[in-house]
Symmetry: none
Subunit: 216 residues, 2 copies
C-alpha cells in the first residue's frame, strides 16, 4: 500500500481546480506565499496541520478526502455569454444600507430591487437596522448564474436559502446540489460557491446572508 500522503498534493490541486480558484488566491486567503501552495500541490513540501486544516476548510471539503487517492472528475466548466453590467460590492450584506427602524414590514409589490449580472435580482425583504444582515428574495432567470465568468465566490459569514419556485444548481466547494421548491440550505459563505439556473423557468428563493463580524 502506498502512502496516502503522496496523494495529498495532487488531490489538493484537483479540488482547487474544481472550485476555479487560482493558486495565488488560495495563498492570499490562507495568508501563505503562492510558491508554498505550489510546492504543496507538487509534493515538494508538506503543510502543517494548521494549514492543512484551513486549506480543507477553504475548499469546503472534510480533511479526509484530501487523503483519498482519487475523486471523480466532474466537468462543470463555464460558459460565458453576453455582457451586462452589474451591481458590484464586495459583500452581499452590503447591498443595502442599514436602516434605523426596529420594525420593518414589506409587501411584495413594494420592494427595493437590485439588479445584478445577467438576470439576477435581489429584492429586499426587510430594512433591518442590523448592519451585518441581509434578508432578501433572490431571482435567477433561466441561464442566469452568480458569476458570468463561472468562478466561485466566497466571503465572510453564513448564508441560508429557501427555494420558493423553479430550480437552482448550487455549487459549494466540490458539492453540487439541485435546489427545488421547498428545499433549503445553510452554509458557511467562506466556502467558495456559485448558483446557476439551468432550468427553463425562473428561480425564486428567500435568502438570508449575514456576516460574523470577523475581520481579516
Amino acid at each position: 500500500m502506498k502512502d496516502p500522503i503522496e496523494y495529498l498534493g495532487p488531490r489538493l490541486k484537483e479540488i482547487r481546480l474544481k472550485t476555479g480558484l487560482s493558486l495565488r488566491e488560495i495563498a492570499r486567503q490562507l495568508d501563505v506565499s503562492p510558491s508554498f501552495v505550489s510546492q504543496i500541490e507538487n509534493g515538494k513540501s508538506q503543510p502543517s496541520v494548521a494549514t492543512l486544516y484551513s486549506l480543507a476548510k477553504l475548499l469546503g471539503v472534510p480533511v479526509d478526502v484530501l487523503f483519498e487517492a482519487h475523486g471523480e472528475v466532474v466537468p462543470a466548466p463555464t460558459k460565458s455569454s453576453a455582457e451586462v453590467e452589474r451591481g458590484n460590492f464586495e459583500h452581499p450584506m452590503d447591498a443595502w444600507d442599514s436602516s434605523r427602524a426596529r420594525i420593518s414590514a414589506v409587501n411584495p409589490n413594494n420592494r427595493s430591487v437590485i439588479t445584478m449580472d445577467s438576470g439576477v435580482t435581489w429584492e429586499r425583504l426587510a430594512a433591518t437596522s442590523e448592519g451585518s444582515v441581509n434578508f432578501m428574495e433572490i431571482n435567477y432567470e433561466p441561464g442566469a448564474e452568480t458569476n458570468k465568468t463561472g468562478e466561485l465566490i466566497f466571503h465572510d459569514g453564513f448564508e441560508y436559502g429557501y427555494a420558493l419556485d423553479g430550480e437552482l444548481e448550487v455549487t459549494i466547494g466540490d458539492l453540487v446540489l439541485q435546489l427545488s421548491k421547498g428545499h433549503s440550505i445553510g452554509f458557511d459563505s467562506s466556502i467558495p460557491h456559485r448558483f446557476r439556473n439551468l432550468g427553463k423557468s425562473p428561480f425564486k428563493g428567500v435568502w438570508f446572508v449575514h456576516g460574523c463580524g470577523i475581520e481579516h
Copy 2:
C-alpha cells in the same frame, strides 16, 4: 470561533484512552518517541501531517474527528424522519443543537420538527453550525398563537419572516399587522411580540431568528 487545532491534543488523548492503548504503545506503533506523543496530547507540540494521518489510522478514526471540539463521535446527523419533541426552551434559537456541518441541505419531507403549544410547529431548514442562528419554517394552524395565554414574548436578537401561505396576525409592540403570502418582516425581537392565525387555513412562513452574537 476558537481554533479547532487547539482541540487536537485533548481529542487524541480522549480517543486513545477510549481504545485503552497506552501512550507508549502508540509511540511504539508510530515509531516516534513517547515523549513526543505526550507533547502532542498536551498541545505542547503538533504532529506533521504524516504522523497525524497514521495516528488517526492507528486509532481507527477519520482525521476529521480529531478536529471536533468534544466527545460523542456519533456520525448520524439526525437524518431520520420527523422526530417530534415538545419544545420548551427560553430562546427560539436554542431550539436545535448546533451541528458541526458547514454545509447543510434539507429537503421538505426530511425536516426535523418541533411541536409547540396549540398547533404551532417549527421545522428546521438548515442544521447550521452557528450557535446563534435558527432557520426554520413555522406553521400556525387556524386558531393557533404564539402564546395561548395571550401574552407577548420577547428575547434577544432579531427575527425575520417571509409568508409562504395563509394569513398571520403579527403584533409587535403596539403595531399590529396582517401577513399574507409574499409579505415579509424583520424586527428587533426584544420588542414584545406575538403571532396569531385568525384565518381558516394554516399559515406557513420561512422564519429566521438570530441572536446578537452573544456566546453561551
